[in-house]
């Protein structure tokens, strides 16, 4: 896929033109991302409410009925449920990879198979995260395979 950016004068409205063979899932995801309002994540860190940039988040996990957001700096506790964050962050490349984890697909460095048929994702920060068999096909779809 080629990208071309044209700079326009200040008085001209921003415009995105998509030239494609057919409107497939990848194009629909792109349109969905462009149309969705900019979202920010909120999370508690040491009892202080912080604004979190979704682009910096590696993964979100639930444990003991609490939801934790992990970014490149620290871990925040979210007020939202895991399924709500999964829905909200879908356009940012987040994907459910197990019952307790939503992973930022853009932070995956590589994956390797495990003996029980699951995959283990190695993230760009060196951490690893398991991907259940159920969600492997969803991951493939998400990255355009």
């Amino acid at each position: 896929m080629k990208f071309r950016i044209e700079h326009v004068p200040e008085d001209v409205e921003h415009e995105v033109v998509i030239r494609c063979h057919a409107v497939d899932d990848a194009i629909r995801n792109l349109i969905g991302f462009l149309e969705s309002p900019p979202r920010t994540l909120l999370g508690f860190e040491s009892e202080r409410l912080r604004i979190i940039d979704p682009e910096r988040v590696f993964y979100i996990e639930s444990s003991d009925n609490k939801v934790f957001i992990h970014d490149d700096r620290c871990t925040y506790q979210s007020m939202k449920r895991l399924y709500e964050l999964e829905r909200d962050l879908d356009a940012y490349g987040f994907l459910r990879t197990s019952k307790s984890m939503v992973l930022n697909v853009r932070k995956i460095e590589s994956v390797r198979p495990l003996f029980d048929g699951r995959l283990e994702a190695r993230l760009t920060n060196g951490e690893t995260a398991g991907i259940s068999r159920t969600y492997v096909s969803a991951l493939k779809t998400k990255i355009g395979l």
Partner: protein, 145 residues
């Protein structure tokens, strides 16, 4: 949640499954006009209930267990599920004693099927991992350009 608490919960689930099977068998005996139940019949219920629940437990992803605990749970639950099924088939099934004399044969069949199951899972995961890694690399190269 700790593994100890998890397996206490599994124990109560096994008990509930056995209770449900007992209710079903009681209704069946009532309909068939059977007046009594043998000790063997009770053991069959316990073993069948254990096999069903433990097999289910080995395959379910529990969001309150971490990755290491999940692997231990899978190992223990699947071995116990197989063990209870073998005991049920060998000791409490008509004709089972005949096959019990051929223990090595049964063990070989079990190992072959288990090996095939894991091999298929691993090969499937390996192919998925290969495709995903190739695609991730292509995406990374494209982004760098």
């Amino acid at each position: 949640m700790t593994l100890k608490k998890h397996f206490v919960r599994v124990f109560w689930e096994v008990s509930m499954a056995c209770g449900a099977l007992l209710v079903l068998l009681t209704v069946f005996y009532q309909a068939a006009g059977t007046r009594g139940m043998s000790l063997e019949g009770m053991w069959r219920i316990v073993l069948l209930g254990s096999t069903i629940v433990l097999r289910g437990t080995s395959l379910v992803n529990f969001h309150d267990l971490d990755d290491r605990a999940m692997r231990i749970n899978y190992l223990i639950s699947s071995v116990l599920a197989d063990a209870t099924l073998i005991v049920l088939l060998v000791w409490y099934t008509p004709g089972g004693a005949y096959f019990a004399g051929r223990g090595w044969f049964l063990l070989a069949v079990y190992v072959v099927f288990k090996g095939l199951f894991y091999s298929m899972n691993y090969v499937h995961a390996w192919i998925s991992a290969r495709d995903i890694n190739a695609h991730l690399l292509a995406m990374k190269n494209h982004t760098e350009r």
